[in-house]
Symmetry: C2
Subunit: 436 residues, 2 copies
Amino acid sequence: MRRSVPELLLAKRNGQALEPDEVRGLIQGFVRGEVPDYQLSAFAMAVYFKGMTREETVALTLAMRDSGVVVDLSEVSALKVDKHSTGGVGDKVSLALAPLVAACGVPVPMCSGRGLGHTGGTLDKLEAIPGFSVNLPLSRYREIVRDVGACMIGQTAELAPADKRLYALRDVTATVESIPLIVASILSKKLAEGIDGLVLDVKFGSGAFMKSVEDARSLATALVEVTRGAGKSCVAWLTRMDRPLGRAVGNALETIEAFELLHGRGPEDLREVTLTLGASMLLLGAKARSDAEARERLERALGDGSALSVARRMVAAQGGDPRAVDDPSVFPRARVVGALTATRGGYLTAVDTHAVGVCGVVLGAGRTRAEDVIDPSVGFVFARTVGDRVEPGDTLATLHVRSDEDLAVARERLGRAFTYGDRAPEPVPLVLERVG
Amino acid sequence: MRRSVPELLLAKRNGQALEPDEVRGLIQGFVRGEVPDYQLSAFAMAVYFKGMTREETVALTLAMRDSGVVVDLSEVSALKVDKHSTGGVGDKVSLALAPLVAACGVPVPMCSGRGLGHTGGTLDKLEAIPGFSVNLPLSRYREIVRDVGACMIGQTAELAPADKRLYALRDVTATVESIPLIVASILSKKLAEGIDGLVLDVKFGSGAFMKSVEDARSLATALVEVTRGAGKSCVAWLTRMDRPLGRAVGNALETIEAFELLHGRGPEDLREVTLTLGASMLLLGAKARSDAEARERLERALGDGSALSVARRMVAAQGGDPRAVDDPSVFPRARVVGALTATRGGYLTAVDTHAVGVCGVVLGAGRTRAEDVIDPSVGFVFARTVGDRVEPGDTLATLHVRSDEDLAVARERLGRAFTYGDRAPEPVPLVLERVG
């Protein structure tokens, strides 16, 4: 590095762009312990205020990717495509999507995260399947991608360790909400998986991290540009997260719903998002030439049982009970199940999706701290959603909880999450637009 | 603390003011090792961008003051007044001012800093006096203030240790240039000395840290308001630092010049700044009721030898050779002394004062790192200054250096520091205005 670290911090503080090799040097120094935490946290705060150029963000992303192993999947000749969602309530898309896309010939190497805060995590949902392991050695991960076509594991210590350290620092220094830092965090891990292409589901609305469409669009644009800047193909979709996706919220209940989708059942909104993202994955994987062709191919894989077959083989390969794909009774069940009923009549005009997520966390379905243990059986299945007309006494949701006290808590909190009106709300598109 | 540290960082990042007890808790946690460096550096960067209210700055200052000993000088019944300068080239005012003001009945308890960067430090100048010690126990410091009326020591580890740690952190995280942080750093130490009042010399111009009058005025206003917010009386003066103050630059040469002033000699600009600051100190110390009365009193102490007497006793009490006050030959002398002569004729219209300071540092009169050893004999005595007319061959300065090579370096660098013109520059006031 020609400039010293304090000089780099000064330049960033003054709004100047750093050279790519300066950004790289900063992260390499951080990983080697030569640049202390207190300089990185000051840097992150300066980036919060002054941002980074695309070129700087690409350099940051690649430096973080290169802090660990970059998986070599070259023995799998097909183009490998993964999907990433910025997270929402009831977002179990990955569990259906990975086997479905793999069944269409596009291998899906997927490293996911755990739930933290009001949204769930793919790993927690997968672990609701008895025996399923998300902690596999990378050698086994490569084998399963090659032999089954899809493998879903957790971020190992070998993948982008700089991200883990930097995120822990950002989490306690009020520097999480910075688009270049978010982009580098997401993509450093994804680019280490061995992918050729990436499809992004960037959510907006009350249940998403980005509340406004504008912020979501900025994030999506940055993600697409940086992924492409790193030499991979990429498409992002902006999708609405102002109500839970699908009907189920909670780990076992969501996994069951994802497998329902592979059986050709399941709620329409979940199906729509899954097919939209899946079609883009097939296009990036060069297994279709048009969106229509891609959707036809996905529908076929849903209809002929091939997606189910990949799902069963993936579950088995990862140590899980493959009957889970077909038989919901395999999953752990909640001790207490009760109904939430409408106390008045009218149209459901909104649901406070963030409050639904927080309610799940409070009842044991999620975490407020990384070390919290979750209960996979806890959750809700909504019978009604925004736009529906209800009468007093109608069932709004079935509540799966651990005790009668929790049932009372769930009824009180979820009851308050609904807004009623005299007229049906205007329908709004679930999938808003494609970016990139 | 009700809010967690990350919540406080978030609030500051978002431009909100913290409660005084929250600021205090942050600093106390930092001192106790409960708030790590990486949170304080992120906080400092957020403060750089979002500032602090006066109330927050007072809380920060007092918390830093209270991180160590606050000297109790209550056994000295008179009002005790100190002076602080933001630093400049040739600024040896403190060395004359402290004995002078003490001779007028206002005790001066003074803890000073060392030179770093292009400006010198009072401690280094004092140490040019053979035997003089700036490292005294606080018990001895209290005795000398009581018995002699003036004592000049270095910042001990007992005074405001939080400032030392925070400054070290700011120095390597590009967070030095923040007015609230500068104010808290200066005042936390000054308020720990046991003072009742404080007079500030806030310098502006090419040789000062604040280049513009506006920045200097902002800093002066903040310093005065925060000192008063901490319950002490305070006045600040804005003084020009676009040429060296006095004729001498360099530790021994400056100390000699300061003592010359006490003999009733010495350059007019140095005398003017000293009397201006001294008059304010007498007013704050309630030893004069008007500026005119204060100046008369100061002139008398210069004329009747009482200021010299205090200076001799202070030097002796601090282990130094008291003959130094009267006899320049007591000081270490440079190996090589040579002249810098004008290569052309004309009016001197400007001198790059920062360059003069840096030239001194390069030749051994100052430090670029805290651990550098300085040579007290090195320095310059200017024969001409801005506004003077010179002819080719006239002596501009006498150079005191360590070798013939250094003499060449000094001639080359200082020769370039002067700007010539065909007309005399408009005279500008040295003392611009009082703040507070």
